[in-house]
Every structure is written in structure tokens, then in C-alpha cells.
Symmetry: C2
Subunit: 191 residues, 2 copies
DNA sequence: CCGAGACTAGACAGACCTGTCTGCTATCGT
DNA sequence: ACGATAGCAGACAGGTCTGTCTAGTCTCGG
């Protein structure tokens, strides 16, 4: 079994871990291949035989972020039973994340800001946004919103704003602010 | 008088205009000096004698954006007399801007996403954010909000979210959504 | 034991980056 | 008329970037 506890993680996994740290902290364009392979302790040829190009490494990095975000968010919501608490819990989870030291805002927005349109970055960013919107729609539906589509749109705006604000102000307070507004909207949208 | 209608704009002005277009459209790190001077029709030596370094050109670009944003926003608000309309007018102006073809979100956030912390980009971005927050505070105060500080914080979240959402979805709709939420918050905050 | 697959180290090519320097030209105030 | 200022064109240096290639090492199934 190739899956059973290798003493060392595979080159692919180490590359992804290194890319995740460096790309998120400093930007996908700022960080060169040499820094990634140095931190991963991997030969350059391994990177290119595994991913083919830097662009594909960036895509893999963002896909990993997308998956991590989904699992972290869904796991965080399991704490709550009441549908309203679950909806507001999204902002709790964001607030916790925004309070951690390395927080630098939305990885997809950041990567998109320094990538040309039409590339792999845009693809993954679109998928991530669609998922977020769908999540809010379902939560709004479960919470009994009269117009779940409108509420979901509003919650997405609040979420984006909280993430961007927490990053720019280096202060997770914006997530609490957004949570408060979301609670008011939810109350108004469900009688 | 050195100010009287030169047939050609000065090298400084042409450099700033070129930098503004290219940096905003493609990112400050992606665009090299050579592209800027080529579009400006200016010699490289002129750039370095005028600005000293690319970093300083980037700062000048962002300072220009900051000033343009202030004048555009304040001019846009002059359409309205009622303090509530003026407050909501910020989202109208944002929506108009987000609907123009070249819109790519907040220039300060974008530049910050690809710049190291502690540089000139962060300085200008902080100044721009402080100004925005102050504007919303004054508008909230004029509109008679019970707690203008809290309302201003909420409006900043909405503004950031509208800007980010419009950029990522390539759709200015988020600005209208934010305006709607702002109107509800304003109504609730003023009786 | 042996051969295949995965990996490492590092040289190399070719492009592009910022920043400097030299030399030339045009304009303008005095 | 003349010097100062501003600007232009482009070569150049030194660094960094992505991506390729060679050659050697390690591990493991059969």
C-alpha cells in the first residue's frame, strides 16, 4: 500500500504545503519557484514532473484552499443545531480564522488580483464563489427566509466585506460587525 | 508660466497616466517599468529622475487613485440634499463605477495583495481606509444615527463587500444589494 | 539481486526585471 | 545668443524568473 505512513510526506504533498504557506503569505506572483522548492526540500525537476508548470502549481494550491475552506466551514457549523445559529456560525468561523496570525484575507481574491483574467486562478475562484453562494442559499432556506436568494446575496456581501475589512485593518472585528448585520437581516427576513 | 497649456503633457503626468491604467488593470507587480515607459512615451531616465524608483511610482499611482476617489465620491454626493440620500449615494457611486468596463475592484486592496507589508502601499492603503471610515462616520452623524460609530463600521463592511463582490462576479449588482442593506440599517438606526 | 520509478542536486538557457549611465536634442528664461 | 533644464533613445550591468536537462541516488516489488 502506497498510502501507509511514509516516513516522509511525498514530494507532491511537501510542495503543496510549501506553496500554500508562501503563496498565501506573499502572493503567487511574488514567490518564485526556487523559494517553494527550497522550503519543500524538493528538487526542481520533481516540481515540474509533478505539476508541469507554475500555473498548475498555483491552481493546485487554490484547489487545496478551496477544499480546506469547505471542510473547515462545514465542520465549524456542526457545532450548531438551530438553523439560524448555523447561518450566523459562518461569520463566527470567519472571525476565528481572521483572528489567527497568518490571516491575509481571501486567497482567491488575492491570487486573482495578481493574475490575468481567463487563467486557472479565475476558474478556481469562480468555483469557490459559487460554493459560498450556494452555502448561504441553503442556510437561508433552512432558516426559513422568505426570499432566500436575496438573503444569500446580502450575506455574501457581508462575508466578502468582513473578509476584506479584517485583512486591510488587520483586525477580525469586521466579522463580528457582519455577524450583527446578518442577524438583523435574518430576523427581518423570517418574521 | 510653466502651467499654461503645454502642447504635450509633462513626462510626470504621462507616466502617472500610464501607470494608472496598467497597474490597475494588471497589477503593480505584473507590470514592468518597460511597459509603463513605453505606453507613456517617456525615457526610462525620466522615470527614475522623476520618481526615483518603481516603489515610489507605485505610491504616486495609489496617491493619485486616492485623490481621484475622494473627488469623485464627494462630487457624486453633491447630487443629493437629504442626508440619508447622501449616505446611500456612496453605494450609488460605487455601483456606477463598478459598472464601467475596466472595473477591477479596490486598487488599494489589489496592490496590497501583491506587496509586502510595511511598504508604501500599506501606508497609502491605510490612509484611504481611514478616509472612507471618516466619510461614513460623518454621513451617519448627519443622517441622525443613534450610534454613528457602529453604523459607520457596518457601512464599511457593506462597502468593502460590494466592491469585492462586484469585482469577483464581474457584476455591479452587489452595490445595489449593499445599498439595500444600508437603507435598512439606516432606517433602524434613526427611528 | 535487479530493474523500474521516484527523487535529488545543480548547471544551464533565455527571458525579463530594476536601475544606471552616456550622449543627444529641444525648449525657454535671461 | 547662451546656458540651464527637461526630456529622449538606448546600451548596459547584475539579478531573478521559469523551465529544461544531465547525472547520480534511494527504495522497493518481484
Amino acid at each position: 500500500m502506497s498510502v501507509a505512513s511514509p516516513r516522509k510526506a511525498s514530494a507532491r504533498d511537501r510542495l503543496l504545503a510549501a506553496a500554500d504557506e508562501l503563496f498565501y503569505a506573499e502572493g503567487v506572483h511574488t514567490v518564485g519557484i526556487d523559494r517553494v522548492i527550497e522550503r519543500a526540500g524538493v528538487a526542481k525537476a520533481s516540481l515540474y514532473s509533478t505539476f508541469g508548470s507554475k500555473d498548475e502549481l498555483v491552481r493546485a494550491y487554490l484547489e487545496g484552499r478551496h477544499e480546506l475552506r469547505r471542510t473547515r466551514l462545514l465542520a465549524g457549523l456542526e457545532r450548531y443545531d438551530d438553523p439560524r445559529d448555523r447561518l450566523l456560525g459562518v461569520f463566527e468561523v470567519l472571525g476565528e480564522l481572521a483572528g489567527t496570525p497568518g490571516f491575509r484575507g481571501c486567497a482567491f481574491y488575492n491570487a486573482s488580483a495578481e493574475s490575468p483574467a481567463g487563467g486557472p486562478v479565475e476558474e478556481v475562484a469562480n468555483a469557490n464563489r459559487a460554493w459560498t453562494k450556494g452555502l448561504f442559499y441553503e442556510l437561508a432556506l433552512d432558516a426559513g427566509a422568505k426570499d432566500p436568494v436575496t438573503l444569500a446575496d446580502q450575506l455574501v456581501v457581508l462575508y466578502d466585506g468582513a473578509s476584506a475589512g479584517a485583512r486591510m485593518d488587520r483586525n477580525p472585528q469586521a466579522a463580528q460587525t457582519a455577524r450583527g448585520v446578518a442577524a438583523a437581516l435574518l430576523a427581518a427576513a423570517t418574521f
